[in-house]
């Protein structure tokens, strides 16, 4: 498929996600007016009906989605009821925070996963491989929220080395970095396992290839075989898995950010859904989806760079 085709596909994905999210949130029991009524006992049923009509909440869900979609296509994602601000202004700074958090976590994860995965594959069954395996198993088995809480207990409460809550945009750069440490560690531990396991498998596969034997017969040293010949070939399949895995990171964003009170898009999504803030929740999730779609897009581009057999025309 060509670039245009991919773009159309990406836009369709976004459209489908927006529909699903809007409808799902709309199907949840209760609406914003119920929340207002709960906060103000003097409201009469007539007031409620008037408010519903004013917000358009008396109309069928599909009609509401249609109106929202038309506005969204004009660049207007609406107004956040709970923050009393246009959703863009609410999301903007938080998106930047999330990018910092996940960018850091991703960089560290990849930086650790590459040597660990390659080393484990080079001596499969060896002591290092078994230790890495054990660590990986432990990592995937620990849920985000549990690991996060344990880290808070140890480093913030008992040892007092790191702050439990995250404060970005305040304090010195060092203080900000320190406040990032715990959520980053939580994310890295969980994701590292996945990355290492996949890279190890891809490397084992690459090292079994016939052309590795050719390289050895040429007189290449082991390290040259591993890095020049096998690693490059392992990168493409590993990349596919990494990119698919980005989606699960969004799930991680909600839990990790909520635990650490991190002012990012995950926490915002959590609050928006709890507060029945339709516009904010939909916009937030759409932008998170955008991240994943763009990342996959970039991965497709990377394939072309990494593997001469792949072209943007989609032939292999």
């Amino acid at each position: 498929m060509n670039i245009l085709g991919r773009t159309v596909q990406a836009l369709l994905t976004l459209l489908a996600v927006s529909f699903l999210v809007y409808i799902l949130i709309g199907l949840m029991p209760g609406d914003p007016v119920d929340l207002m009524a709960a906060g103000n006992p003097h409201m009469t049923p007539a007031d409620l009906a008037r408010l519903r009509a004013e917000y358009g909440l008396d109309q069928p869900l599909l009609a509401r989605y249609g109106r929202w979609l038309i506005a969204a296509l004009h660049g207007d994602l609406g107004y956040s009821r709970s923050y009393n601000l246009p959703v863009f202004e609410v999301i903007g700074p938080r998106a930047a925070h999330t990018v910092v958090l996940f960018g850091t976590a991703l960089l560290i994860t990849v930086a650790l996963a590459l040597p660990m995965g390659v080393y484990a594959a080079r001596f499969p069954g060896g002591i290092a491989d078994r230790m890495i395996n054990f660590f990986c198993l432990a990592g995937v088995s620990l849920p985000h929220f549990w690991l996060g809480l344990l880290l808070i207990c140890l480093f913030a409460v008992t040892l007092g080395w790191l702050p439990a809550a995250t404060t970005l945009s305040e304090g010195s750069l060092w203080a900000q970095a320190k406040s990032l440490a715990l959520p980053v560690i939580t994310l890295v531990v969980a994701e590292l396992a996945v990355y290492v396991r996949h890279l190890r498998a891809a490397m084992l596969e690459a090292l079994r290839a016939d052309h590795i034997r050719t390289a050895r017969a040429k007189g290449c040293s082991e390290s040259r075989i591993v890095w020049r010949h096998a690693f490059q070939n392992a990168l493409t399949p590993a990349l596919t898995v990494f990119m698919l895995d980005l989606g699960t990171i969004i799930g991680g964003a909600v839990t990790v950010e909520t635990i650490f009170g991190f002012p990012g898009m995950g926490k915002l999504l959590f609050d928006a859904v709890n507060g029945n803030d339709y516009n904010l929740a939909v916009a937030d999730l759409l932008i998170l989806t955008c991240f994943v779609v763009v990342a996959n897009f970039a991965a497709d581009g990377l394939y072309v760079v990494l593997d001469p057999r792949v072209s943007l025309a989609g032939k292999k």
Binding site: G5, D210, H211, T214, A215, K218, G219, Q232, L306, R309
Partner: protein, 537 residues
């Protein structure tokens, strides 16, 4: 002093508590400039022996309980990694069987050839480039000297094998170990590559250790032969002597194992059971956003066939010539244009559901006996499946009786029906695949390269079996193969295909003995001339 002196070499593979003795006490030597062929069937240990020389086995799973490998007097068996690396690709180099996978798919051909130069000669990039161009010209790839940035996937199998050879010769080695260098390429390419290797040997004066299962190649290439059987060298000697006076039983068997004989006569007045007129299979090439059809790949382009009961039509051609597509289209396993009629039914006008009852009369046997049998089904389940589809009212006992009869007819024991495909050898699996087709008592069977994945001696047995079944059941066969020797032993008529079209067709004897078209002549010369020489000596 011999160039390479291997004494009492043994190789064990250790897998948990199991030890396989792959090579047992093998000794041979190679003199400067000579060619030693190591022949044997699959599993005889010939490749393992070849890989041992450069210590390329998967150590520590592979072990050498004993022996010595001396190259110019220097022991390689206990040599350090540094010593071995200075010899690999420099003094001794290797080429392998699979040209498709033996080159790194992510490196350009220049990078792959020059790597050997950087590693051993520490050449600077411009000198290396000069040498790469020289090497490409040497192996007959002058066309590629302007395309040094090409990647392996842009080259044909023959070209890739030439790149492999260029890579191996980069440092002018004293010994070239060639492990089945031509097995995976078409016959005409095979003939070219062998000629290239011979010419290069003359020019560079290197010795060659040639690993092969193909005796016709041995005869063409080798000064001396070592015959391997079950991990041991059973006979060594001058090529001429081995061929004329084989001493060991196994060597005699190997030499007589070529598929021979002729097909049984058939009634050429009978009504054809299957007819095709102007059969075409065109695959559309779609481009652009709207996936418009801009061109066609004409896999089969206007072919006429008529097959009578008891007759075999052989279809020969190189890979990509459309042989298999033709077979699939005749069975309506692929959409096609043109008339196909089976026993008077026009298959083109029938729906898949209407064709289904006819399917019990037309069966197919595939090339790969490893991939075409489901590993999760027992032999009985595999063989009886057709009966379940076509005879739903049959009782279990009746089915079992049919399955047993089919297995016995193909030379398998009745008890094998409880076992699973992985427990069988390649030849036995192919018998299971044939039993699966025969259990339905078909009238027409397409045999798509049924012998290509098998050892020569097993090929001969399968050819015997197929001929016997044909005679007993008056079967019509379409025998698709790139191997002209097997086709000659099987077919009454031959169709020679190239690029989806018929190049030549006629009586098998006439096509093989007096080919009219140039293409057929090349094909026949490349594939059979060794046989002609055989009968001459």
């Amino acid at each position: 002093m011999a160039l390479l002196d291997v004494k009492n070499l043994s190789v064990d593979f250790v897998n948990g508590p199991f030890t396989t003795h792959a090579v047992k006490d093998v000794s041979f030597s190679i003199e400067k400039g000579e060619t030693l062929a190591v022949v044997g069937e699959s599993g005889s240990g010939k490749s393992v022996t070849a890989l041992s020389v450069l210590q390329l086995l998967p150590y520590p799973a592979a072990k050498h309980p004993g022996g010595s490998i001396k190259f110019r007097g220097e022991e390689l068996m206990k040599a350090t990694d540094v010593v071995l690396r200075s010899i690999r690709g420099n003094k001794i180099s290797m080429i392998f069987q699979e040209p498709m996978t033996s080159l790194n798919p992510l490196h350009t051909i220049e990078k792959q050839i020059s790597e050997a130069l950087f590693l051993h000669k520490h050449m600077n990039p411009s000198a290396a480039r000069q040498r790469v161009i020289e090497l490409l010209e040497l192996v007959g790839l002058s066309k590629l000297t302007s395309r040094l940035g090409a990647y392996p996937h842009e080259l044909s199998g023959g070209q890739r094998q030439r790149v492999m050879i260029a890579m191996a010769l980069a440092n002018e080695p004293d010994l070239l170990i060639a492990d089945e260098p031509t097995t995976a390429v078409d016959v005409t390419v095979q003939a070219q590559l062998l000629k290239l290797l011979r010419d290069l040997q003359k020019k560079l004066g290197m010795a060659i250790m040639l690993i092969t299962h193909d005796l016709s190649i041995v005869k063409k290439m080798a000064n001396r032969v070592a015959v391997m059987y079950k991990g041991e060298v059973v006979e060594t000697g001058e090529t001429q002597k081995i061929f004329s006076h084989p001493e060991h039983e196994y060597t005699k068997m190997l030499l007589s194992a070529q598929p021979r004989g002729n097909p049984q006569p058939y009634d050429d007045k009978a009504t054809p059971i299957l007819k095709a007129d102007q059969l075409k299979v065109w695959f559309p090439v779609k481009t652009g956003i709207f996936r418009r059809t801009t061109d066609y790949v004409k896999a089969v382009d206007g072919i006429d066939v008529a097959i009578r009961p008891g007759q075999t039509i052989g279809v020969v051609g190189e890979s990509g010539s459309g042989k298999t597509t033709l077979g699939l289209a005749l069975l309506r396993l692929l959409q096609s244009q043109g008339l196909v009629s089976f026993e008077g039914h026009d298959l083109g006008k029938m729906t898949e559901k209407q064709i289904r009852p006819l399917r019990r009369d037309m069966q197919i046997v595939f090339q790969d006996p490893y991939g075409s049998l489901s590993p999760r089904l027992s032999v009985e389940q595999i063989v009886e499946e057709g009966l379940l589809v076509h005879f739903p009212n049959m009782t279990k006992a009746e089915r079992t009786a049919k399955v047993i009869a089919a297995l016995q007819e193909t030379g398998l024991d009745a008890e094998t029906r409880h076992r699973y495909p992985h427990e069988f050898s390649g030849g036995q699996r192919q018998r299971i695949a044939i039993a699966r087709a025969m259990v339905l008592n078909p009238k027409f069977v397409i045999l798509d390269e049924p012998t290509s994945a098998l050892d020569m001696s097993v090929q001969a047995q399968i050819v015997e079996l197929l001929r016997r079944l044909q005679q007993t059941h008056n079967l019509a066969y379409m025998f698709i193969s790139h191997d002209l020797r097997v086709v000659r032993a099987m077919s009454h008529q031959v169709i020679v295909m190239r690029n989806g079209r018929v190049v030549e067709t006629g009586e098998a004897r006439q096509v093989f003995e007096n080919p009219r078209e140039d293409y057929t002549k090349t094909l026949v010369a490349a594939a059979l001339n060794m046989d002609v020489a055989d009968t001459g000596t």
